[in-house]
């Protein structure tokens, strides 16, 4: 059993999800060009931010004339869910060496949380688990950056009449729906939609931040006693083994 085998095992597990991320990257790259964003900055953002939803949120605020602070805040609000993933991965990552722990944290994605449990079962030592996690994360980030770069290069080919901006609602529908596993998430999402329209006259793209917070509050107000499935909303493509038995959630 080698580190190479662990890496390849992870890469095989994630392979089915890589094309979707590449398509998402292509769309984001094309959007960067359509919105007139500096292409080098756009491509770099996929490498350094590495979170498509947050990057798109920031771009939309910038295009709407928002300030740097509001654009960054929008991105961070959309990315706040990573704090949950991070906590879920903490017991496993805590046994990794420091450079691996800090390096792999940079690559955490929605899909990491859906798969890490399989790696934990199959690979028994932290040294091998590190390579499994690298195997499920590195291909995703590579596809994301590669897709973005390809989209940026192809972007100028796309005629303006194609209205590439339609990709934004499509992307977020694709991202949001798998996370809606119960009534609280549904209420949060629907409130977000309604509030952002109701608050459309707020300046500087502030309506997105305000609507996100209102939607969160509405979701929290929904009674979930005993009905919320464990790990609801955590992973996109698999039931999350990350957050089992959270009885405290319904207390």
């Amino acid at each position: 059993m080698t580190s190479r085998a662990a890496f390849l095992d992870g890469a095989r597990d994630i392979a089915g999800l890589v094309p979707g991320v590449a398509v998402f990257g292509l769309s984001f790259g094309a959007l960067i060009r359509a919105r007139g964003i500096d292409p080098i900055a756009g491509a770099t953002s996929s490498l350094i931010v590495g979170a498509g939803a947050g990057q798109t949120a920031a771009v939309e605020v910038v295009v709407a004339g928002g300030t740097v602070a509001i654009a960054v805040l929008s991105a961070l609000i959309v990315n706040a869910r990573f704090a949950l993933y991070s906590a879920a991965l903490a017991p496993m990552f805590g046994r990794f060496s420091r450079p691996w722990r800090w390096g792999l944290a940079y690559l955490i994605s929605d899909q990491t949380v859906g798969l890490y449990g399989r790696g934990q079962e199959r690979w028994t030592t932290p040294a091998l688990q590190q390579f499994y996690i690298l195997g499920i994360t590195a291909p995703m980030r590579t596809a994301w950056v590669g897709g973005t770069a390809a989209g940026i290069l192809l972007g100028p080919v796309v005629p303006g009449a194609w209205q590439i901006g339609v990709i934004v609602p499509l992307m977020f529908i694709a991202l949001a729906i798998p996370g809606i596993r119960g009534l609280p998430e549904l209420v949060a999402a629907v409130t977000g939609v309604v509030a952002v329209v109701a608050l459309k006259d707020l300046p500087l793209g502030l309506n997105i931040v305000a609507a996100a917070l209102l939607g969160m509050t509405a979701g929290l107000l929904v009674r979930t006693r005993g009905t919320t499935p464990a790990g609801a909303g955590l992973a996109q493509d698999a039931p999350a083994p990350a957050a089992p038995r959270d009885s405290a959630d319904s207390a």
Binding site: A58, V68, A75, L76, I77, G165, L170, V196, V197
Partner: protein, 104 residues
């Protein structure tokens, strides 16, 4: 260049979020329940807000009903059915392209 500043700050903030749980908590059970619930709600809420803003509005006013909305409904149906990111995007984009070709 403010766009560089936006992306660099977003990168730093996002990394801080990604390392936060690993650095602060030994495991998810240590997060106070209400914080955990809030974190769980904020994703759907923020994404709903972005869908509403980009689909229903166009530069701050209502977008007239048309191909955008129909393509979004197609994507919605695919997302609920397949729960697959790439497939949902392709279905929505294909529907939109077909609608444009039909002159909707």
């Amino acid at each position: 260049m403010s766009i560089w500043l936006v992306f660099i700050l977003a990168a730093l903030g996002t990394y801080a979020i990604r390392i936060s749980g690993i650095a602060l908590f030994h495991n998810e059970e240590r997060i106070p329940p209400h914080v955990r619930r809030a974190l769980r709600m904020i994703g759907p809420a923020a994404m709903g807000a972005i869908v509403g803003n980009s689909l229903l509005l166009d530069h701050g006013s209502w977008r007239p009903f048309g191909a955008w909305h129909i393509a979004a409904l197609v994507a919605l149906a695919f997302a609920a059915w397949k729960r697959n990111l790439g497939l949902t995007l392709l279905a929505g984009a294909a529907a939109f392209a077909a609608l444009l070709a039909l002159g909707v």
